[in-house]
Amino acid sequence: MKDDFTIESNECVAERTWRLVLLSDDTHYLFSGEFVDIAVPGFYLRRPISVCDSSEGRIVLYYKVVGEGTKALSGMAQGSRLNLLTGLGNGFDASLCTSSALLVGGGLGSAPLYPLARELKAAGKNVRVILGFNKASETVLEEEFRSLCDGVEITTMDGSRGIKGLVSDAPSFHRTDYDCFYTCGPLVMMKAVCKALPIPGQLSLEERMGCGSGFCYGCTVQTASGPRRVCKDGPVFNKEDMIW
């Protein structure tokens, strides 16, 4: 679905990290793990960004300024219009969890886990979260997860916030009462998480995309069940799908 949105707010909330709130006249029910594809004025291809939160006619996105496109996006003012493709991707499957889940986010990979945490809590599940960042100044969404979940631990590579080290250095990583996990973040982190945890799990992949809708075959990855498009068959895959 293609729709024009109005920027309600677009502000820097952490180092190189922006929070974008968009409004539309139409209701967009967005599920966890889904993404939108934003046409940034002056740039040819759209920018795929995971949805962090949504309610009637309103969506919240987090993005990092990494190149010219996201830099231009960060300069867009309240009231500006943006054209989005919505309803993209296959999201997280909350029904994978029977009673207790571990969510592991790395950097802005934390954002798509937030609506999942809400979904799991609404279904009465026990949800613990580990969020890993490089340093304190990059930390996002900590309070949002704390208000929702049964436990939140922060790790930073330089120790400037929470536990110093990797997400696997957090004590809650080593609990054995989870029946599944969900993770999103850098590939090396997700690989380590998938290899370390002997329970079912899902991860969300990132890839340079063309269409974002499954017809250009630009973002194909090889999986245990054959070639799969990150944009359409993913971005969420089961741990068993991965060929590391």
Binding site: K2, F43, T220, P227
Partner: protein, 303 residues
């Protein structure tokens, strides 16, 4: 006055000249959720080889000013899946022209694949891709020499009695020489042209953006070059041409047709906007009215 958008392409009557280009519209089926495919003049399906191919490693998409690069590398399920599954499934929801885009790594493979496409009822036109820049020892290797392009054309024409359109490479010194050689070998038409070989470098990593290092450049940036090539080929040859390269609007379609195109393919614009072809088809009557054009066929090659 009602505008006549229909065109004749290789003996087929198309309701309009707008055709999504191969590789930018999947096998059509992927697009059915966006709009009714039956408003399209035709659909050129994703390039197909004899064996299934996984394509190149990622990243295989890069951005550029006014365009994009791809190095997908002919990911496809193979010719048997095309004729046995993809085309029959598309035919259940679509009654316009179906163009099978065929690639190969040898003259024999092109002929093998085209014979299968000929035997498939749902396929109307065979587009022979001698111009894919993203595979080694195949694709473009055949389209950059008149003799090899003609050899492929001749072999295909011996086994396929459906209209054969040769999709030419723009990465050549003299596209007309190659077109003439193919026409002499029996080509029923041309698609002009495929993508331009290009490259981007990530300044931070100091590495090529594409894992394949180079890829095909497409988008509005190449429109004037593609238009020039359509004009050259359509005036040098007597067979019809499908114009392809950077088309993004109804005005671009009309410009391509004035240059000599009988039909017009829309490529990268689909990737920016899955509704692009529908938008262009819907814009055509009003654009024609503004230019005093009653029938699109009357403007073909008028420049």
């Amino acid at each position: 006055m009602v505008k006549d958008l229909s065109v004749n392409l290789g003996g087929l009557r198309l309701k309009n000249p707008v055709i999504p280009a191969s590789g930018t519209f999947g096998f059509g089926l992927e697009m059915a959720e966006y709009f009714d495919l039956n408003l399209l003049g035709g659909i050129s399906l994703k390039g197909t080889t004899r064996e299934a191919r996984l394509g190149n490693p990622t990243p295989r998409i890069a951005e550029a000013h006014c365009g994009m690069l791809n190095s997908v590398g002919l990911q496809n399920p193979g010719i048997d899946a095309l004729v046995g599954e993809k085309v029959p499934a598309l035919r259940k929801i679509y009654d316009g022209a179906v163009i099978a885009n065929i690639s190969g790594f040898s003259v024999e493979e092109y002929a093998w694949n085209c014979e299968k496409a000929y035997a498939c009822d749902g396929i109307d036109i065979v587009e022979v891709n001698v111009s894919c820049p993203n595979v080694h020892d195949g694709g473009m290797a055949f389209g950059t020499e008149p003799s090899s392009a003609a050899a492929v054309t001749k072999a295909v024409k011996e086994v396929c009695r459906k209209p054969v359109f040769v999709k030419l490479s723009p990465n050549v010194t003299d596209i007309v020489a190659i077109a003439r050689a193919c026409e002499d070998a029996g080509a029923d038409g041309f698609t002009v042209a495929n993508t331009f070989l290009g490259m981007r470098i990530d300044l931070k990593t100091r590495r090529p953006v594409l894992a394949n290092k180079v890829g095909g450049f497409s988008g509005p940036a190449i429109f004037p070059i593609a238009l020039r090539m359509v004009w050259q080929v359509s005036h040098a040859c007597s067979v019809p041409v499908m114009g392809c390269g950077g088309v993004a609007s109804a005005r671009d379609v009309i410009e391509m047709m004035m240059a000599g195109a009988s039909a017009v393919q829309v490529g990268s614009e689909n990737i920016r906007d899955p509704y692009a072809c529908r938008k262009i088809v819907e814009e055509l009557p009003e654009t024609m009215a503004g230019l005093g054009i009653d029938s699109l066929e009357q403007i073909i090659g008028t420049v």
